[in-house]
């Protein structure tokens, strides 16, 4: 799915921030992974343990949208715009 070369990260700051935020919130941080997918826009795919999906999304998507806001702010440091997808 991704041809992301780990040596040429498209959005290192956004990735680090997203990873940090998600790990801070879930019960199972080991199961968290962030994958960069380059396309027309850079997409950051977040995977979490199935049981943690609810935490990451939050009621009415509140937590997920806060994560998106902060991660996009981080992406500004990488001079890119990113989309964030939560997958389980």
């Amino acid at each position: 799915m991704s041809d992301g070369d780990p040596n040429a990260l498209a959005a290192p700051t956004a990735e680090a921030v997203l990873d940090y935020l998600v790990r801070s919130i879930v019960d199972d941080p080991d199961a968290v992974s962030v994958e960069v997918e380059d396309g027309r826009r850079t997409t950051l795919n977040v995977r979490v343990a199935p049981g943690d999906m609810g935490r990451v999304i939050g009621r009415s998507g509140r937590v997920a949208s806060a994560i998106r806001v902060v991660t996009r702010a981080a992406a500004a440091r990488d001079d890119v715009e990113v989309d964030i997808e939560f997958l389980d």
């Binding site: 680090a16 990873d19 609810g54 509140r62 937590v63 806001v69 981080a74």
Partner: protein
């Protein structure tokens, strides 16, 4: 404390809107349902649900076991709001509902269309009634009430301990196999984190043991102090700065007896504030989410997050703006309707203009487009 009133397609939607208004997490809020939504034909909405909400006064209420039980059983975070009005007895909906109705009715009467000042003092009573109806009769009337409290304590303790230890251990373990970006963040964290690391493990040890001993004892003891909350929030924000690759100082200032503010100070922090403070708002929301994860249960007082003095600057700007408007209204003699503002901002305007002679203020419109109106005297 200021009440906000919101509407939505359902009670849950209205509550969400209220939480947005207040900018707080759900378990910091106190709700009253003024009106349930009414369905018309073909699922068309005949009347929106209407709720009132405010920041919950700091006095703890016996809700902790329930929430912990839920958490321990692995249910998603979504459930906790229901506990406010319905969950005292999940198996039986009727009594809970009537409690809500009672609270709603008494509040509804006090808060007839738009009269804020009246509405504000009354609902407090309504809330009392609601909670009395909601909690007390049920615990006496249902044997499961006490049962639940007792049986939940062992599991709840486990759950609490787990959620304390998990983030620390695992983030270190998991970091190893991540790319350079991850490694960088970790390095940064290690670099600045030695001392915090120690205080964190101390903090979690403290809270774990305190939840051991206080489960089933008095609730006030299991309430996380502002200091504990501040410590966890500081640590989270420091980690966030590191992940951003930004330099900044994180510290906590006591604003008043029940409010502390965790501040990030430094250069080039505009990124963390964002347009109209949106990023700051999101950072605050996430801090609360993390706090809830790390310190389940009740939290004493209120903890705010600020970046580079944004909140204070915003308040000052609002004060100046309000004074300018008051001057115009006084000299022109015509009323002026301001832009829609959130409740906190409106309060600043009301407070400032309360001190100014020659004008009075009121609010009109419905959330989220409620606005302040400045009127000339006579």
């Amino acid at each position: 404390m200021e009440w906000v009133e919101t509407t939505g397609k359902s009670v849950d939607d209205a509550k969400d809107a209220a939480l947005d208004e207040l900018g707080i997490a759900e378990d910091e809020a106190e709700f009253e349902i003024v009106e349930e939504a009414k369905q018309g034909l073909f699922g068309m909405l005949r009347r929106e649900a209407r709720v009132r909400a405010r920041v919950r006064p700091t006095q703890p209420r016996p809700k902790v076991e329930r929430r912990r039980t839920k958490k321990a059983s692995g249910s998603k975070g979504g459930g906790s709001k229901g506990s406010e009005t319905k969950s005292s007895k999940p198996s039986e909906k009727k009594p809970a509902k009537s409690a809500v109705a009672a609270g709603g009715a008494s509040a509804g009467k006090g808060s007839g269309k738009g009269s804020t000042s009246k509405g504000r003092s009354k609902p407090a009573k309504g809330a009392d009634t609601a909670s009395a109806n909601g909690d007390e009769p049920e615990s006496t009337e249902s044997p499961t009430g006490t049962d639940q409290g007792a049986s939940s304590s062992p599991t709840a303790t486990d759950g609490g301990g787990e959620s304390h230890s998990a983030p620390g251990d695992a983030s270190d373990g998991g970091d190893a196999d991540r790319g350079p970006a991850g490694a960088r963040a970790v390095d940064a964290r290690r670099r600045s984190g030695r001392q915090r690391e120690r205080s964190r493990s101390k903090a979690s040890a403290d809270t774990t043991s305190s939840s051991d001993t206080t489960q089933g004892a008095t609730m006030s003891e299991s309430t996380a102090s502002l200091e504990e909350q501040a410590e966890i929030t500081e640590e989270f924000l420091q980690g966030l700065l590191d992940a951003f690759g930004l330099d900044g100082e994180v510290s906590t200032v006591s604003v008043d007896d029940e409010t502390s503010e965790v501040r990030i100070e430094g250069d080039e922090l505009g990124l963390l504030i964002g347009q109209k403070g949106r990023t700051l708002q999101a950072v605050g929301d996430l801090s609360r989410t993390v706090l809830q994860r790390r310190l389940p249960g009740r939290h004493e007082g209120r903890l705010r997050v600020d970046v580079a003095g944004y909140r204070e600057r915003r308040r000052e700007a609002l004060q100046r703006f309000a004074q300018d408007v008051a001057e115009q209204v006084r000299s022109s003699g015509t009323r002026r309707v301001l832009e829609p503002m959130n409740p906190a901002d409106r309060k600043v305007v009301h407070d400032v203009l309360n001190e100014v002679d020659g004008v009075t203020t009121t609010s009109e419109g419905e959330e989220p487009r409620r606005r302040v109106v400045v009127l000339p005297d006579d």
